[in-house]
């Protein structure tokens, strides 16, 4: 490995030489991003009337130098749709657009400023920009890894982000709380929640190894450095950074800051709330105890003798009834069974019908299990006090409902045989159980049994028909006992109650005494080197940052607080630049520095370095107001340009010829037009919900779990997502509220490039593949939303087709249809109504179906998911 690493370095060095990069630069502390920004003068430009905010002057100066003309302004409607998606992630209504257009006629500058304020004041703003931040903060609601345990309190952090952004919390404070909220305002619930930033990374939940702790801390410091400093510090865990002047010692100095911190689940609330928590926890413990008791005493069911039949009608898990004599050794059982009902709920391995034999105890027996594994298999298994294992391999097979099956079991010494309808299913040898009674089992199924006969080895009848149940000595027959399923449901409810309490998934220090931190050779904790004092990367400070000892009464080391203060210092060369660049990226699809989380030597150089610095200083001087930067950017002419200059006409009627611009700057780095962008995964879903009138705008709270195709849920080991047959309003929340389960991401979001949530994601990729088209065309979600939208239109708009089309265009594209589109859609509706009237029995049904078809087409349009 060392040889290879050396070889890599050599190659890199060689490449650097070949590329003409002076080698000294590789260690250059004078790299632009490592010097604090100073406010540059706003440049002079020729076309002064184009300059609406100082941002324009910087952009235009560069365009003019390169002889490129900016594109014409976007039409008002398109501008508003762009602005609304940028700030809210939801489309404007047609009414908004028309109002805005009228206001623009009077004074378009003022109209835009007013609408930007209006949008910034909407609570949807925090949901839209919170999503960006959650990408950076690798937010998820579960651990990842085996079992993928849920994080029931993680959502408080998501809500804190949304609320902070809505309140335009100064960015320095926003940042500081995430690193050291517990130290800055001890005892403050929101500040504690903020430190969830340090808890969001994936964690191994089923094993506790020292290595995992270092990996988790690595995630924290790598993410902190990337997100706030744009520095890829994680590269220095094993060796000095290959590109940046960051040493391995710098990495461990940062580690020394976080090394004393650990996980906390802290409840800060009223005494009543604290009491409530202990109560609930006690109840959960009690129910759990009941469950473990029940698992040794499985469900009773409601066995009854009706005529000559034994009947069980309760649909619950693991219902058992034992009859006969525990001393029986070798015998043959004949019985017939009919399944009256059974779940075919996907991915239930256990559900089925079973016959037990040689049952020495209620939880110790052989059993023939029929129609298990989603009614696809039969199995012969042993249950030894909860330890379940097939004795031999399972075989494919079903149990059809409402059909009598004949079962025969013969046990003779160690030989076990089982027949179903005279077909020998299993024949094995096993000597673990030598004697015992027989039993009947239902697992999420209901049954009728008849013609029971048990004969001993010589053929004498041991049992003919069912014994009187009242007299049975079967230990588990206590009617009315609750099933494990019911109890699990109780636990779920109790847990949901706890979830509502203000419990922060936070971090905290053990004491004021810091833990010792050592440098690990090659990043291997088994090879500790010398001790390392806390610090920040040396290249970023003139004098090393000092970490004074905390006061005597302190309960934490105070180290994170010192780091936070340094990050938020106006002298920090990176913090403000990195953040304004992120804001720029989320507006224009690409940052002024394209590598938004890497401002190091290996990152891309800024396209407009002076603009970046100007914005950074402006950001700090505005009191770190993110909304202020939005205004500066969005009120500008550069933001207001059209995205399709080929078709725009300029105000003075000049024939636009963008040929030259697209040749001179095909990548649009100079921003001579607005870049058209595909909506992010969440926004595609949100817009479908909004357009169809289904969007539930409830904010905050535990994550929701919309429908995921059961076969997708099955791709993980155990059920990690509930089966939703039909979605309801509670599922139609904005996608930021969708429960982020690391092992089961929502397919629709995943395929449209939503991040995997395991590492900080600084920029969404955009790929286009046919499986996305299949989803939008065929998934129940789009089809159902289209159908509901059609119903709603019929109810609210009425039966005029032109009106309907007008409304559909307004909702989906924020514009009225052109006359050509109107004609085309009218013809389409006619044709589809005609088609559907052949199968629909009522004309309104045909009409609704035709409208559904049109709405469905709209959800799939390029114009629907690309913003101009």
């Amino acid at each position: 490995m060392s040889i290879l690493t050396l070889r890599c370095c050599w190659i890199l060095w060689l490449l650097a030489v070949v590329a003409g990069v002076p080698r000294a630069a590789a260690a250059d502390p004078e790299h632009w991003a490592f010097r604090a920004p100073a406010r540059p003068p706003v440049p002079h430009v020729a076309q002064t009337d184009w300059v609406r905010t100082p941002v324009d002057a910087f952009i235009l100066a560069k365009l003019e130098t390169n002889g490129v003309t900016p594109a014409a302004p976007a039409p008002a409607g398109k501008w508003l749709r762009r602005a609304a998606f940028d700030l809210l992630g939801l489309p404007p209504t047609l009414v908004d657009v028309e109002l805005f257009q009228r206001e623009c006629l009077v004074d378009d500058g003022r109209a835009r400023a007013r609408w930007i304020d209006r949008l910034l004041a909407s609570p949807h703003y925090g949901e839209r920009w919170g999503r960006h931040w959650l990408d950076l903060a690798r937010y998820a609601d579960s651990n990842g890894f085996e079992f993928d345990f849920e994080r029931p309190h993680a959502w408080h952090y998501r809500d804190w982000v949304i609320d902070s952004l809505n309140a335009d919390k100064p960015y320095d404070q926003f940042m500081m709380e995430q690193i050291a909220g517990d130290e800055i305002t001890p005892g403050n619930f929101q500040a504690l929640v903020a430190t969830g930033f340090c808890r969001n990374g994936p964690t191994v939940g089923n094993q506790s190894l020292e290595k995992h702790r270092w990996d988790e801390l690595d995630d924290v410091i790598s993410t902190t450095a990337e997100v706030f400093l744009g520095l890829t510090l994680g590269c220095a865990r094993c060796h000095d950074h290959k590109y940046d002047p960051v040493s391995q010692r710098d990495y461990y100095a940062m580690l020394a800051i976080f090394n004393s911190s650990g996980r906390r689940e802290t409840l800060i609330g009223t005494p009543q709330q604290r009491q409530r928590r202990s109560q609930l926890e006690k109840q959960i413990r009690e129910v759990r105890a009941q469950i473990s008791k029940l698992q040794n005493h499985p469900s009773a069911g409601d066995w009854q003798i009706r005529g000559r039949e034994l009947v069980q009608q309760r649909l619950a898990a693991d219902i058992r009834l034992l009859v006969g004599n525990p001393a029986w050794t070798d015998y043959t059982v004949d019985v017939e069974v009919l399944k009256t009902a059974g779940t075919e709920k996907a991915f239930n391995y256990e559900a089925g019908v079973s016959l037990m034999f040689r049952a020495t105890e209620i939880n110790r027996f052989y059993w023939l299990r029929l129609g298990i594994s989603d009614n696809r298999e039969h199995s012969l298994a042993i249950d030894d006090r909860g330890g379940r294992a097939p004795i031999t391999r399972t075989i494919p097979g079903r149990i059809e409902p409402n059909r009598w099956y004949r079962i025969r079991i013969r046990v003779q010494g160690e030989s076990l045989q089982a027949w179903l309808d005279d077909r020998l299913l299993f024949q094995v040898k096993d000597r673990r159980l030598q004697h015992g009674r027989i039993g009947f089992g239902n697992w999420l199924s209901t049954t009728r049994w008849r013609n029971l006969r048990v004969r001993d080895a010589r053929g004498s009848l041991l049992l003919d028909g069912f014994p009187n149940l009242a007299q049975t000595s079967s230990p588990k027959f206590t009617a009315g006992q609750e099933t494990v399923d019911d109890l699990n449901e109780q636990i779920r409810k109790l847990k949901a109650e706890i979830e509502k309490l203000p419990i922060a998934m936070a971090i905290g220090d053990d004491s004021r005494q810091p833990r010792e931190t050592r440098l690990f050779e090659r990043g291997d904790h088994r090879r500790p080197g010398g001790t390392v004092a806390p610090g920040v990367p040396a290249v970023l400070t003139a004098t090393p940052l000092s970490f004074p000892n905390p006061p005597e009464h302190a309960t934490t080391t105070g180290r994170r607080h010192h780091l936070a203060k340094w990050l938020a210092s106006p002298r920090n060369p990176l913090t403000a630049r990195v953040m304004v660049n992120r804001i720029w990226q989320y507006h224009f699809g690409r940052g002024l520095v394209e590598t938004t989380s890497n401002f190091g030597l290996n990152g891309s150089p800024p396209s407009h370095p002076r603009l970046l610095d100007w914005l950074a200083v402006e950001f700090i001087e505005s009191g770190w107001s993110i909304k202020h930067i939005h205004r500066l950017i969005m009120c500008s002419s550069v933001y207001g340009q059209t995205s399709s200059p080929g078709h725009a006409t300029t105000a003075d009627g000049r024939a636009p010829n963008k040929q030259t611009d697209s040749t001179r700057d095909p990548a649009n780095r100079l921003l001579w037009k607005f870049p058209k962008r595909r909506l992010e995964a969440e926004l595609i879903r949100d817009q479908i919900l909004a357009a169809s009138g289904s969007l539930n705008t409830t904010m905050h709270g535990p994550g929701v779990r919309p429908r995921i195709h059961p076969d997708v849920i099955a791709t993980s080991t155990t059920r990690k997502w509930p089966t939703v047959i039909r979605e309801r309003s509670e599922h139609w929340r904005r996608s930021i509220y969708v429960f982020a389960r690391r092992s089961v991401l929502m397919p629709m979001l995943e395929s449209f490039d939503a991040p995997t949530t395991t590492q900080s994601c600084d920029r969404r990729l955009t790929t286009t593949v046919p499986t996305q088209a299949l989803q939008l065309l065929n998934d129940v979600f789009t089809n159902q939303r289209a159908a509901d939208m059609a119903q709603e239109l019929l109810a609210t708009v009425g039966t005029s087709a032109a009106e309907q089309i007008h409304t559909i265009y307004g909702r989906c594209l924020s514009r009225p249809p052109t006359s050509k589109e109107l004609i085309r859609c009218l013809a389409f509706l006619d044709q589809q109504r005609e088609f559907h009237s052949k199968t629909a029995n009522r004309s309104t049904t045909a009409q609704a179906r035709a409208l559904t078809d049109l709405c469905h087409v709209m959800f799939n349009l390029n114009e629907f998911i690309y913003v101009d």
Partner: protein, 479 residues
Amino acid sequence: MSIHLTDRFWSRRQLLQTAGGGFAGLALRNLLQEEGLLAQTRLAATNPLSPASAHFAPKARSVIFIFAYGGPSHVDLLDPKPALHKWHGQAIPVFRKEDAFNTTTKDTAMRSPYRFTRHGASGLPISELFPHIAGCADDLCVIRSLHCESNNHAPALFHMNTGFLLPGRPSMGAWVTYGLGSENQSLPGFVVMWDHRGGPIGGAQNWTSGFIPAAYQGTPFRSQGEPIIDLHPPDEIKPQQQRARLRLLAQLNEQHLAENPGEQELAARIYSYELAYRMQMAAPEAVDVGQETAVTQQMYGIDRPISTRFGRQCLMARRLVERGVRFVQIYSGGGDQMLSWDAHGDLRSNLEQHCPEIDQPIGGLIQDLKQRGLLDETLIIWGGEFGRMPTNQGTAGRDHNPRGFSMFLAGGGTRGGTAYGATDEFGYAAVENRVSIPDLHATCLHLLGLDHEQLTFHHRGRDVRLTDVSGQIIDDIIA
């Protein structure tokens, strides 16, 4: 030297080749042609999955990775250890408590209950549990000296699939598809099939594209019914209705494109709908094993209840690679833990359940590929996330073993009839010609014509690789 996505342009010739590829159901295309809607602009659309050239001449074109999830026992299947008979019931000196996952694991040797016999001209010893696979001994290249860095399922699965212990990195299938694209645009380039009992721990994180574009993530294929979720509209949507919808969609999208000339992404998206429409025909056709002769089906054990499911999946895999799919991964074992190869409790019932499920299907797959002349260009990989302890857990089980385990490769330019590397006399730890997971990955990429040091994606300030900072190609196993 990462691959630039924007370099992947569709030439008119390529498009027509793909589109005119002989499938009967090109209705959308015909539909669009009828209406004169086949805009020329589309032909320049970018497609992330279009075939890309390898770094050097490849030996293999495609991969079938059969993942025995749960950790199959190497000392009972591929790595015979007579010493375990001698030491049976006695503590072995190499055992270290911290290697085992469970605290109940003992340090006493447990001999294999199965016989190993030498097979083929090469005399490769293979367990009696794999009679059909043994029949292909001269095509197998068994690596007996693998080792990995976690004794815990989830990190070990991620390690084997993505080269890293933490989730979120691109899987090998994603890297390969990113590097080479796919040769059939009417099917996904990277297909995953999972066990009927459920998937592996970590689910989709095992076939994720991580931080490289989502276009390269594995697409789950079901082995029964419609292969791809959402391949067809819900039942209540009639074919004629869907066609009408698509026709209007195409018209409106073309009009929009005309208003936005030169926007390649828009053109690409229109094209993706054509591909999707074609996939509706191509995917069910590709997995329709009913088109195969009874003899072929029997080769895969489809006629036997025990192997019918896995046999179908193997046959589907062959049909997919035959049609140009780049990477197919099939999981054996899944769902609840005891349903995977995770034989903690009862080794025998576990192996006797799983081995007959996959033995004939895999043997059939190798033979079938061979007789069709496809084995040379198809790399088969078989193995799990780690091996099992040569000692006993409880009375009859074996615990996880990350320090030494076996996998086998077949076809795709590997040297058949080979056993490479070795564990110690107990099968406890790899000692000779040790092979790390990055070594295995580097070798697989090499067989596909990809240089593992050049196949990179810029992420978090680095050009990230499947093999991170290591990976030695195992030259000795390459034919």
